[in-house]
Amino acid sequence: MADPEPVVIEQPPIEPDRSGPENLLVCLSPSPFSMPLIRATQRLAAAQQSKWFALYVETPAHDRLSPENRELVAQALYLAAKLGGQAVKVSGFRIADEILAFARENRVSKIFVGKPNARRWRRFLGLSLVDHLIWNCGAIDILVISGEAEEAEAPRAGAAGVKPPRLLKEYLLAAGGVGLCTGLGFALFPHLALRNLAMIYLLTVVVLSSWLPRGPALFSSFLSVAVFAFFFVPEYYSFVIANGEYSMTLVVMLVVSTLVSGLTARIRHQVRVARQQERQTAALYEMSQNLTAINSLEELLQVATEQISRIFDCRVGLLMPGSEDSLEIRAGHPYEDEYGKEGMVAKWVFKHGHLAGAGTETLPNVKGIYLPLIASQNVIGVLRLETGQPDRILAADSLRLLEALGSQVGLAIERENLSRQAQTARLQIEAEQLRNTLLSSVSHDLRTPLTVIAGSASSLLEGEESLDSGTKRELAQGIYEEARRLDRLVHNLLEMSRLQAGEARLNQEWYVLEEVIGSALAQLEPQMHDHPLRISLPTDLPLVQIDALLMERVVINLLENSIKYTPPGTPIEISGGIQGRELLVAIADRGPGVPAGQEEHIFEKFYQVAPGSQRGAGLGLTICRRIVEAHGGRIWAANRPEGGVIFHFTIPLQEGAPMLDKNLEELHQDHGDESDHSAD
């Protein structure tokens, strides 16, 4: 196709106040000619390095366009947006006024319009759009660009082909309505004055035009006037009008009914436009609302796909780069890729950052529509939509909404990624600090038992003959106990680093609390001898879902803490019970307690009540808190009024715990008959 030549129609003298950047505006119409018009504008804008707009004025006439023509408009807007212009749709009644208002608001210096193809009589009367613009443009240049004639005419023919069958029903409805009204008129005729009868007809026209398109509405107004004149205006059953006054009534009736039908059509149009805009705004708003209340990338992708799927009634999948430069579905609906075509289109979209796929101009021979998710820097993913029906494609209007949603999602993903990076950086710094503190603290804590071990062992070596057997035994005992202590310390350190790294996945199973406590006590056996232990656990405690090894560590650390800080001979008490929907465990001692106000600090890393005075890296309670919280419970400390400290921790009770008695019976029924084995 030959490039259209711009023809400058009018060039008023340049006014002094036009100093800002020159913006261009191209006016779109429901015609394929809009495309070359847009390209011409874009070329000029690029040459001048100016900003440009593509404007479509949606008038009530837009409603009467065929779907094909509406699609043309949407595609033109879409093309303009793709070429870097700002695509704008405004609604109004007088195209020229809207264009000029927009141009003035946006400091537009040149307006591009297509060559007029207004109907001959309008052109004759000087009513074409171009004439309007030129009369009223003031300082703005109007450039009229000619297209190929048949292109401009084509949509009109297409539109004509669609109309008759669609509107026939509406015309019949209009006629039926007027007929009904006439029936009513006959019934009321003896009781009503003529002008009141006319009111009934007017009412009918208002009712009809409130839900019929403009053509049938106008038809109903003319028809009602004609029918009224024929039946009820003397001379009856004739169009001859007996009295001049009556003709006045008829003229007023005709004018009023025509105006009313026109006005209702406009209102309906405005309502429709407003509703559509509201729907789009609501969709965008809802998306942005939902995307802000998100905690993880997975959740974000999930919410985004679900919502887009709901808005467009499509199957939606979200692809992001996986390993080995392939795209993997990360959320939403997976899809079949028979010949690898879908995957190729997805990759193309990911590489080029352009929309492609079914119903678009690029690579349309696939089932899916592929939208790039663009963050501020680059393409970070591809959104895939599939309508599910081969003949249903998304209209360009929907594509624009989809793109708006897509850019929201893209930015949200980027935001999430950035916050995750910041989080990682912060964790790294924390880990670094932890490592430093750990090293200094641990080296001290390791050295103490090592000193005891090395010293005792060397005494044993040196004084093989001079030492009596009691002393030897004491030294060996010291070595053994210090080694056990070292082992626990190392174990705590390992556990801490595992918890810190987030590697420790809970290996939860149903456990009996009693057994966990028993197993912890068994591991502390030699040290517990110095402290009388009181345990009070109800026998009917339900099973709890815990990682027994970790929970055992909690009990060990709490008991060890009590042993460490309380004088020998003082009792330690363990108790448990149900409180609400939790299992509450308490471990209490009769030691010096925690300094007031420090009850929370003791759970912090490396905290020691009296630094340096006691052994232990100050990790035990921190580990307890991590483990308990990983189980969904809480842990806290309090001083007892009668002296000593009491630690509490909770484990949430869960549904479906295996019951003691019920299972007992079931299993007996199953196996009672085969229990006649004995040991060999």
């Binding site: 456990y511 009996v512 057994e515 027994a548 004995s678």
Partner: protein
């Protein structure tokens, strides 16, 4: 005069080998040592030891592989030496055919007790002749009358509890994994039902132990299974 039991120690750390040599030889065992898995397997074939002590962190082979190869031709008792925090490995090794395990660091007393149990298993004293009774501490089991006594008083056990106790007595002194217990007491389709087992052990402890939270007989092996103490 091959009356001294032969112990094969497969362990790559020289200082641990030295400490075990010192402890075991004084106890009258004959110790042969291997620093790697292949060497250990070769020695196991040529010297036919009575017990194998196997360290898990060998330089050339996974401990599990050594167990599997050894089990393909030998029934020699295997005691695994492992670090704490490797409960899954322990269970896997026991399932693969190891007889028992010791968690490092361990005392010599513990090691000797495990070895005694392992050696007793290797030499079944009264084969084919069922035991009549078994007693441990305060409780006694009469297998013929299927009765259990504690301090001379009869304790009523349910059939399942009795069976569970019998299985533990059969393996006394040795760790029995959850899986193994469930399989032997309830049957193969119950091997995932650890909570049932815990409930029954709890009930058994309440009937047999003085203080069920500090059991003296029915010991818990955390993350692995249970062990009946053997004196």
């Amino acid at each position: 005069m091959a009356t001294n039991p032969i112990i094969l120690l497969i362990e790559d750390d020289a200082s641990i080998r030295r400490f075990l040599r010192a402890s075991l030889v004084t106890q009258g065992y004959e110790l042969i040592e291997a620093a790697a898995g292949k060497e250990g397997l070769a020695l196991a074939a040529s010297r036919v030891p009575d017990v194998v002590l196997l360290d898990l962190g060998l330089p050339d082979m996974e401990g599990l592989e050594v167990i599997q190869q050894l089990r393909s031709w030998s029934n020699v008792p295997i005691i695994v030496l492992s670090a704490r925090g490797q409960e899954r490995d322990k269970v896997a090794n026991l399932d693969a055919g190891a007889d028992d395990y010791l968690t490092k660091p361990f005392g010599v007393g513990e090691l000797l007790a495990r070895m005694r149990v392992a050696l007793r298993k290797a030499v079944p004293a009264e084969e084919g002749k069922p035991e009549e009774s078994y007693s441990l501490g305060k409780f006694r089991v009469d297998f013929q009358r299927r009765l259990v006594f504690r301090d001379q008083e009869e304790v009523h056990l349910t059939p399942i509890e009795y069976k569970l106790l019998s299985v533990l007595i059969k393996h006394r002194g040795k760790v029995v994994t959850h899986r193994q217990l469930l399989k032997e007491v309830w049957g193969p389709s119950y091997i995932e039902q650890n909570p049932y087992l815990r409930i029954f052990i709890l009930n058994l402890r309440r009937k047999l132990e003085d203080d069920p939270t500090r059991p003296q007989y029915l010991l818990t092996e955390p993350g692995v299974g249970y062990r009946l103490r053997d004196d």
